[in-house]
Symmetry: C2
Subunit: 532 residues, 2 copies
């Protein structure tokens, strides 16, 4: 760690280090200081001692939009670099750590995922007092500070910071928003790589502590990256479909009847009556198709009142749903969905290279592999592959979660892809509205899609013929009176159509190879958690 | 209405009108016919009469993805035109109307907002029988048909259709999906211009009939346009903010405590406990700011358990919410929001010119006017304008809905804008977390935005200082223990920030000058309606 030259002439146009200007600033700041609320103990000073740094550090008054300092230009930490060598900058960032030792204070400033070293050194010429150094050393971790500093190229890179080529030599240090002194977790600990424990310290922040203190946990570089990637997934999904003529729709979350029979729905008290939370936008997507919107997608909350406490279930998640009319064959839709996903994967790898690398620093995992066009297998082929691997699955049975995981590994070994489509599920394991296969009475025109051996999408051609839909519902033992409105919506003329629903959090989890869906839901909801 | 030449040689490569091919096709179709389910009565035929059109019309079997006809190329109705004169096309569309009269049947085909005339004429040379004409005339309105036809340029434009320069001369007519014979409303009636009633017929489809039969109602050209424009609003909102470095987030709808005191929230039974539906994503947006995401937006369902049955209230609507940290003044945020809205307005006018015109055909209204940058007024100025117009509003009172409407008219008259920002609301009428104005104890750093005199956004600088927030909550008589978690989230260091929430349905309603928010919610929810 090298402190480079700090006592050099300021950049042109910045006169703040001249004695006259400094005195003026000190006077103005003194006035401001008196008004300010002191949240961090003011530096101790001997009764007769004059603090030459007065007006150059301290607590600022709560920013209330007075108009003061509106012309001050701030530089983002990520934009600092050797091109700014010897220039003055204002930076607003978090003080990740600070440690005063004698006449110097070494601190790390963090903004999003970028960190840089800040040094405050006692220097009479520059009006930097030991009180100012001590003040900086006492600022609680995670507080937000405004720092005026000279950018200084380092002789050798600072290893601990993401920006190692430069550091900041402080001229002013102002506390904008203090964090409390005792934090429930340290961002540094929460950010530790899962593999990095050379001293066997076993410093791990457990998941509930993270989620209970999500605001702190979200500040880790990995989390900053994960949720930017998640935003990317949604954007790529929508952009891809919009380009293909899909129309975005919004479907109601409050519904009058449970969409699929009534199990696993949350009940809402609705004025003097009650209603339910939608488990899926499916009925509404289908109505939009029957209403001539042809190709629709919707991104929104989906609710499942399942008491499943697993690594991949949430009670509320974000569904990326789409539905599309087709002319002759549901593979027109299947191909569109498959391409949508490979477009998302490619888009992420192209646009979020840095974020993916940042996540991999904390959670090392093999990069996601996929084929274009994606691999499509038929169900009997999957059964056969599993059989060859020693697992027997009945031809009319669904796959168990372990079967799916194994199949994912077998497919990866054989085809080198982490993504594939499994088509032609047995009719017996799919909902009543699934179109049967015209050529095989035991099969259906339905499909799941998998990433790293876990299901991320389920979909099918839906029955658009009301009489046949009634027949199938009866076959499933469903009370026709309860789905009368659903069936009725197909008596107004409806084109053949198919669609599917993608779990957003699962796509992000599995693309990044993370082990728990709570890592990809900003404020996850499960049977035991509805806070924060 | 002119039927142009139909008995001309087919386009190159299409041999279907040659006698040999026709016989072959008839034979194949006969076979198919026998398998098909007959949903529309087969045409009557004399015992000894041979139907020369056999295999060229009828009900097709439910499309089940057999692979048949996968190579058939369909042309969209909107893409038909004189450039295709004398060419054969396949079209899949709705039969909006059909009327057989003697040896001819005149029909209108509709696809989305485009309509074209279809003519079926008895013609022995072309193997078009009177049975085929009659069959077409008997197809229920709104059914979906596959038509093979010759595109024919019309001598004079067909007035009743959006595509008047060409019509279709049928060679085959197949019923893909029948609508039932008695429809609860006619799309033609639902699409009538509000002003168009020259014969004083007063044919109006009332709102509840429309909403009860939303699938049919949504097929009107105006509704096809409205929901495409709505998708545009969301896309423009997100694209504009993404370009400015905002990150999309998803906030939970199920929350453990009512965000603003507990009034007007829906209760959800949550396993063995209960929870609430979020009235706003505000707390979560603010947590994302405290978690270093700097600038965030979210698009999602917002729930209000208000028993308001007005033209502008829904119990569930789509919120376009954003929150942004700023350096010194909340106007940094205010300006961003204002520009986001003008970007949306401009984007709509540039990209949705046709859709806007289509809506205006049914609901005539003056085009939306706005200024760039948008007009910003301070609250006292609004009070003064109202006073000059004879309305007295106390300087610490909120504006009533009629006051807002009047103010909108006054602003429009004076500044020629349908959009403006009203800044500096009285502190007394805003929520406890609103930052007071530093210069005027009765004012606050808060704002509403208006379109055509109705509020579409409410926002403010939020108090980011936990102690001051506590003080303000106490001042409002709020039980501090119930908002402890909210206050606590600001003890981890939080930058100054401001934001706002836009009601998507209101923006679309007011941009288009519509009179009811149920026109811009695809499946609206109000205290009396949770279906369909």
């Amino acid at each position: 760690m090298v402190l480079s030259e700090v006592n050099q002439p300021p950049a042109e146009g910045d006169a703040a280090t001249s004695k006259k200007a400094a005195k003026k600033a000190a006077k103005a700041a003194e006035k401001q200081q008196k008004k300010a609320e002191h949240k961090v103990s003011a530096p101790e000073s001997g009764i007769l001692e004059i603090d030459i740094s007065e007006g150059k550090y301290g607590n600022i008054k709560m920013i209330q939009s007075t108009g003061e300092h509106r012309d001050r230009v701030y530089t983002d930490v990520k934009d600092l670099g050797v091109h700014l060598d010897r220039k003055f900058v204002w930076v607003r960032a978090r003080l990740q750590t600070s440690r005063a030792k004698g006449k110097q204070c070494f601190a790390v400033l963090r903004q999003n995922s970028s960190t840089i070293q800040l040094i405050v050194s006692v220097n009479e010429e520059l009006y930097i007092s030991k009180q100012m150094v001590k003040f900086t050393g006492n600022i609680p971790k995670e507080s937000i500070v405004d720092v005026r500093a000279v950018v200084v190229a380092t002789a050798s890179p600072v290893q601990a910071c993401s920006l190692g080529e430069v550091e900041l030599s402080a001229r002013e240090v102002w506390l904008v928003s203090p964090a409390r002194a005792q934090l429930p977790l340290l961002v540094e600990d929460a950010a530790r790589p899962e593999t990095d424990d050379p001293e066997g310290l076993k410093i791990r922040v457990n998941q509930d502590t993270r989620l209970d203190n999500r605001v702190l946990d979200l500040r880790t570089p990995a989390n900053q990256a994960i949720f930017r990637i998640e935003a990317g997934v949604c954007r790529l999904f929508r952009d891809h479909l919009t380009r293909r003529g899909f129309v975005e729709i919004h479907t109601p979350k409050i519904i009058s009847a449970a969409s699929e029979g009534g199990a696993n729905v949350f009940t809402v008290s609705y004025f003097k009556s009650s209603a339910y939370l939608a488990q899926s936008p499916q009925l509404y997507k289908q109505m939009a198709i029957a209403a001539d919107f042809d190709k629709v997608f919707t991104v929104g909350a989906v609710f499942r009142a399942e008491d499943s406490n697993t690594h991949r279930h949430l009670t509320e998640f974000v569904g990326l749903d789409l539905e599309m009319s087709f002319k002759q064959h549901y593979h027109e839709v299947l191909d569109t969905i498959g391409q949508t996903l490979t477009d998302i994967f490619r888009g992420l790898q192209e646009e979020f290279e840095n974020e993916i690398a940042t996540v991999a620093q904390q959670y090392p995992v093999a990069p996601f592999k996929f084929l274009e066009p994606p691999l499509r297998l038929e169900f009997p082929r999957a059964i056969q592959m599993l059989k060859e691997a020693g697992v027997t699955v009945g031809e009319e049975d669904d796959l168990s979660t372990p079967d799916e995981k194994l199949l994912g590994r077998l497919v990866k070994a054989k085809y080198e892809t982490d993504f594939f489509i499994l088509d032609k599920y047995p009719l017996a394991v799919r909902p009543f509205y699934t179109m049967p296969d015209p050529n095989n009475p035991k099969a259906s025109n339905s499909y799941d899609m998998f990433m790293r051996g876990e299901e991320i999408l389920s979909g099918a051609q839906r029955i658009h013929d009301p009489d046949f839909l009634t027949e199938r519902a009866k076959h499933h033992g469903i009370d026709i009176s309860k789905i009368a409105a659903y069936i009725e919506s197909f008596r107004l003329g409806c084109p053949p159509h198919a669609g599917g629903g993608i779990g957003m959090e699962r796509v992000v989890m599995l693309f990044l190879g993370l082990d728990n869906i709570r890592k990809t839901s900003m404020f996850p909801r499960d049977p035991k958690r509805v806070t924060p």
